[in-house]
Assembly symmetry: none
Homo-oligomer: 270 residues x 2
């Protein structure tokens, strides 16, 4: 018993705090959530986020499949939307087996991990999105991602179990980051040059789209979702910094004739 | 039904005949055998061999967990001993989480796969040994292996699910061996998805900056050059398509209340 407690305390310590959060969206099977948690902790990842898990949370089947990955399950958080789940993150990659026409970079797992590690060195907080077992992520959710991860598999049998997909990404992260013993805390992001959070970017989108709504930008209401998605995809491609978002919001305010925002002028302080 | 049959025939064709056989020794759970079969076929491996599976063979639970990996399950063979299972193979690596004192080379998964591929080029037939869920392989079984594979994991939580271990090895094999079929080149972008010309981008910049000039966007004239440069740099990072530029110009027109541009609606012609 004392041995188990010690092992759990050790496991909680041996967590890679700079590693990506794993965001499981509308997962159907508790077993898959548990197996994903186990695979995460196998590789030192511990930040698990659930968006609308079908059978609610907590889930006994998840607990069973997690095989003691308590350091993950005890801190798992549940969200109502993908937007909320990624709000505090800066760089998010989404796995999908289906080809989409979103004009997003498509990366192999190893490339994705390399790009995320580079972003983390600039202070970015990271996330990995995984859709439901059958349906995958919706386009409006994929739009939130900075890149799409495609796992190179047998084209004739490419449907990977959810926890297996989580494992491949976590394993690649572990390999690229070196042994857990060597991990150092990432420096806290500071300043206006830090990557924008997804929340900051979403506020900009809502600001812009609201202003366009008021000005009858969309030829027909039916065209609005597609046009909004195209605009969001375009801006997500930039890897916006906090300063970029401030600038863009200032541009929208200026163009629409809104009064400038109260507070210090852009770029004068953080 | 015809579609499913076609998919299965295609899957059977898309098998990597030089890939390692997977030998599962005294596996307890049928689910793990099925999940291993699925992971194998995900990566193009199809030669599954079972040594004394606890619940016999065939196993309905394995069938369920395999999610249609019939190309693997239909050819799975059962053996009484590890010696018999590996008799026709030339190079066998064994995975284990436990440190042993067997004076065998210990390889990471990627090193193991590289060594096996090299052996295969000399004509060797390959195999990977996986022990039972809890106990691992016996020493007299490990002795049959040419090398021990150690998957680098969280030292505080290193117990990997059996099918997950199979997946990591199969995935590394797939990566090292290249895609099962040549990936088709995406067609060159044409029309509105083609990259914008520098001229189109400059016209957008001038349009935006002119609109901002008219609306006193810049706090002081001295700040204008730096702010313009920052905005241009930001948009240059997007790799704008022609459609992006049209969208952005439409956005500026809408926000400033300019009348929509004359001409065909966006996207109707190139």
């Amino acid at each position: 018993m004392a041995g188990t407690d010690r092992r759990k305390a050790y496991a909680a310590d041996h967590v890679d705090k700079g590693a990506p959060a794993v965001v499981l969206v509308r997962t159907q099977l508790g077993e898959n959530i548990g197996a994903a948690a186990r695979a995460m902790l196998n590789c030192g990842l511990a930040d698990l986020r659930l968006v609308q898990p079908r059978d609610g949370w907590p889930n006994v089947k998840a607990l069973g499949a997690a095989s003691g990955a308590d350091a993950v399950l005890s801190s798992t958080r549940v969200y109502g939307t993908v937007e909320e789940a990624v709000a505090d993150l800066n760089v998010v990659h989404a796995t999908t087996a289906r080809p989409r026409e979103l004009l997003k970079p498509e990366l192999a797992p190893r490339e994705s991990v390399a790009a995320m590690r580079e972003a983390a060195q600039g202070g970015a907080r990271l996330g990995l999105l995984f859709g439901p077992e059958k349906a995958g992520l919706k386009n409006e959710e994929l739009v939130l991602a900075d890149a799409i991860v495609r796992i190179p598999l047998n084209p004739a049998f490419a449907s990977l179990n959810l926890a297996q997909a989580v494992l491949i990404m976590a394993y690649e992260w572990r390999l690229a980051s070196g042994p857990l013993e060597d991990i150092e805390e990432p420096p806290p992001p500071t300043g206006s040059a830090r990557p924008a959070t997804k929340e900051e970017i979403l506020h900009f989108f809502e600001h812009l789209e609201g202003a366009l709504d008021e000005r009858s930008f969309y030829p027909t209401p039916e065209m609005r979702p597609k046009m909004v998605q195209n605009m969001r995809t375009m801006f997500e491609r930039i890897s916006l910094t906090r300063q970029d978002v401030q600038t863009l919001r200032g541009v929208v305010r200026a163009l629409t004739g809104e009064p400038p925002r109260r507070g210090p002028p852009p770029g004068s302080a953080d």
